[in-house]
């Protein structure tokens, strides 16, 4: 159905737009979604950084 929308003040939106373009995001929405997803993910901390490292060590390239 309808996606919820969130309001931002104009100056923040302009900054977001610039950052999204600089960082290679296809739209400010994608950038905002990505940043928020990460922040939310940090809250539940389901995968710790240690686990990520452990996961990748089998590649051989890292120690």
């Amino acid at each position: 159905m309808f996606q919820p929308t969130i309001k931002l003040n104009r100056s923040l939106y302009e900054k977001v737009k610039q950052c999204a373009a600089a960082a290679g995001y296809s739209s400010p929405e994608e950038f905002v979604e990505h940043v928020l997803e990460r922040e939310v993910a940090k809250q539940d901390e389901s995968v710790s950084d240690e686990e990520v490292v452990k996961k990748m060590q089998g590649l051989g390239y890292i120690d």
Binding site: A23, K42, V53
Partner: protein, 628 residues
């Protein structure tokens, strides 16, 4: 008018039919040989009769590799015809721009969004999933849409496999059953072994009672339990009191091994809900020593191809069919046990023996595929030369040549196929890895990275002591430098306006960077992501890609964000060969039984050539040209 319309329709139909006939009869075999080095071939043509004959009868060129020359990056380009800026994979390791912590570049898992809580259990109501991070359509998806038969075995960075009707089996990037890229287990009662974790493995002490001990083999975390408790199975090991021999009892199997022997593949079920739900894994056991101390190596638990817990093939039953024909096989993306060799748990000869087992598995499947190949495309990938080069390059030439010889024989078998075009390519070459460059330390010495306390240098990973308010750039992964950019990195300090100046400044300094021990330049070339890549999918791109000179590579510590004291150290690991350098330093190879028109072929040309051979136009955005 009606007749005209009918005539044009007819013409169109004949055209299509012609294209299908042309495609239907064609037979193209593409062999992807990771890490095959042009220089090594040139100095050993006489020892590699099939490759030698192929270059004489057909052609041989250096194949320009991607920036950076890393396997997931280069093979993603081969798969999609896009440069890294298009497919979005820039390294084995990406970083989360917000947390600046490493993340895997190849796949991402999403847990189920809704679950039911019953006692200690968590029953998912929606399915979780694993997504490949690579963007773009693969050449075999495009062929499958045109009903051109294609089988693609083990191409890297294809986990989970791209959905299509072609037959494909996932390769590098496929995890073991525990979700890592390979974690072995080692069991010993030797009190001198004090370690419990090494990179890519864990070491468990065991206690023998009357010669018997329990080895607990860890499976995946129990996703159906709230506490995600690790699943495990117990194996009882019984050693003879004097002879170097032991019996192993598994839940449904029993076997005897002599010291120095490997078991066949063993299958085990890891229970999630007793009696209701379990996941199946396969592993091999190596009895390294019985007396005076027991030493037992257990391979990473591979996803069982007969009953895969995660998607590893298309169609999903393809891996089961292969198991029916061939028995169990390694499904883990990188199966050669370099980790246990590096940790000193397996000797060089033991590593080579294990590596031969991987190659034997792979050759058995290759011959099966070759035997049933009738028309269309067969793409087959070999990991052995790459993994062995990492451990043998420049020091154990004969051992490495032995691996090249076995692959040469497989190439000979492909060459015997009648009326078949053959293309052989590698994603990069090899060089010695003598000196490890601590890029974060170099950045610190250049005043671009600041620690909370200058004395806090060391091997602690994850930028633990970095003061981000005073840091302009940081390095992570094997070739990448990132700016601490305002609005992208959380708390980033470099403004957009200063970005280019700072990048120019870092680049200039890198090119001046000399090894204090030898006075030699460390860096050959520095690439700016925004200028190097045509694609704009740069979300995970480092701002600068460091092209090291031969002999130099980002240190182990750099890859995960540590800041040791010195800027360069000797590489003291058993991993002595590498390729994460400047792309020009480590080109791959391209061979065919036909002559090339292209004088300087590149990775992007490979999928363009494959599609062109079947008369299929390139998809939008694909960059290459046919090499013929």
């Amino acid at each position: 008018m009606k007749w005209l319309a009918l005539a044009s329709l007819l013409l169109l139909a004949t055209g299509c039919a012609h294209q299908t006939t042309q495609a239907a009869g064609r037979r193209l075999i593409v062999l992807g040989i990771d890490g095959m080095d042009p220089g090594f071939l040139e100095s050993h043509w006489q020892a590699l009769p099939n490759l030698n004959r192929l270059r004489q009868q057909g052609d041989f060129r250096r194949l320009a590799t991607t920036v950076p020359p890393q396997s997931p990056v280069a093979w993603s380009t081969v798969a999609t015809g896009l440069d890294p800026g298009g497919h979005g994979i820039f390294d084995f390791i990406h970083r989360d721009p917000v947390t600046r912590q490493p993340i895997s570049s190849m796949a991402e898992a999403t847990p189920p969004s809704h679950s039911l809580h019953i006692g200690p259990y968590l029953i998912p109501l929606t399915s979780g999933s694993v997504q490949a991070m690579r963007s773009g359509r693969t050449f075999w998806q495009i062929l499958a849409e045109r009903r051109i038969p294609a089988t693609v075995i083990r191409i890297p960075a294809n986990f989970p496999p791209a959905e299509c009707e072609a037959e494909s089996l996932a390769g590098m990037g496929t995890p073991d059953l525990t979700g890592t890229f390979g974690t072995f287990s080692f069991y010993t009662d030797d009190p001198a072994e004090k370690r419990s974790q090494v990179a890519g493995g864990h070491i468990a002490p065991i206690h023998l009672e009357n010669g018997s001990a329990t080895l607990q083999i860890e499976g995946p975390p129990n996703s159906l339990r709230k506490d995600q408790a690790q699943t495990a199975i117990d194996i009882r090991m019984h050693a003879d009191p004097a002879a170097p021999v032991a019996r192993f009892d598994l839940p449904d199997e029993q076997f005897v091994l002599r010291q120095g022997e490997w078991s066949d593949w063993q299958r085990a079920d890891f229970r999630l809900i007793p009696g209701l739900k379990s996941v199946s894994g396969i592993f091999r056991i190596y009895l390294q020593q019985v007396h005076p101390h027991v030493r037992v190596y257990v391979s990473p638990v591979n996803i069982d191809p007969a009953d895969p817990a995660m998607p590893i093939s298309t169609p999903s039953g393809f891996s089961r069919t292969l198991t029916g024909k061939l028995g169990s096989f390694y499904t883990q993306g990188i199966a050669e046990e370099t980790s246990a060799f590096r940790a000193g748990i397996l000797s060089k000869d033991e590593f080579l023996a294990q590596s031969r087992k991987v190659l034997t598995d792979n050759l058995r499947m290759f011959h099966y595929e070759l035997g049933r190949f009738s028309s269309g495309l067969l793409f087959y990938y070999f990991s052995s030369i790459d993994q062995n080069s990492h451990m043998l390059w420049g020091r154990y030439e004969e051992d490495l040549l032995d691996i090249y010889r076995q692959v040469d024989q497989a190439i000979g078998d492909a060459m015997r196929q009648p009326d078949t075009e053959l293309m052989i390519l590698s994603d990069h070459g090899f060089a010695r890895f003598d000196r490890a460059v601590h890029l974060n330390t170099w950045l610190m010495k250049e005043g671009l990275l600041t620690l909370d306390d200058a004395s806090n240098t060391g091997d602690t990973e994850g930028f633990a002591h970095v003061n981000w308010d005073k840091t302009q750039a940081y390095a992570l992964g094997l070739n990448g430098i990132y700016l601490n950019l305002y609005g992208r990195e959380s708390g980033g300090v470099v403004s957009l306006a200063d970005k280019q100046d700072l990048l120019d400044q870092i680049s200039a300094k890198l090119l001046e960077f000399r090894d204090p021990a030898t006075g030699e330049h460390v860096v050959d070339k520095v690439y700016f992501a925004e200028k190097t890549y045509q694609g704009r999918n740069l979300k995970h791109a480092p701002d600068l890609i460091v092209g090291f000179r031969r002999g130099y590579r980002a240190s182990w510590q750099t890859a995960l964000g540590a800041v040791p004291a010195a800027a360069i150290d000797d590489n003291t690991q058993a991993w002595i060969g590498d390729h994460c350098m400047a792309a020009d330093e480590v080109p791959g190879v391209l061979l065919s039984n036909r002559k090339f028109r292209a004088t300087q072929p590149q990775m992007v040309d490979v999928p363009a050539t494959i599609l062109s051979e079947f008369g299929v136009p390139r998809a939008a955005g694909m960059l290459g040209q046919t090499v013929f």
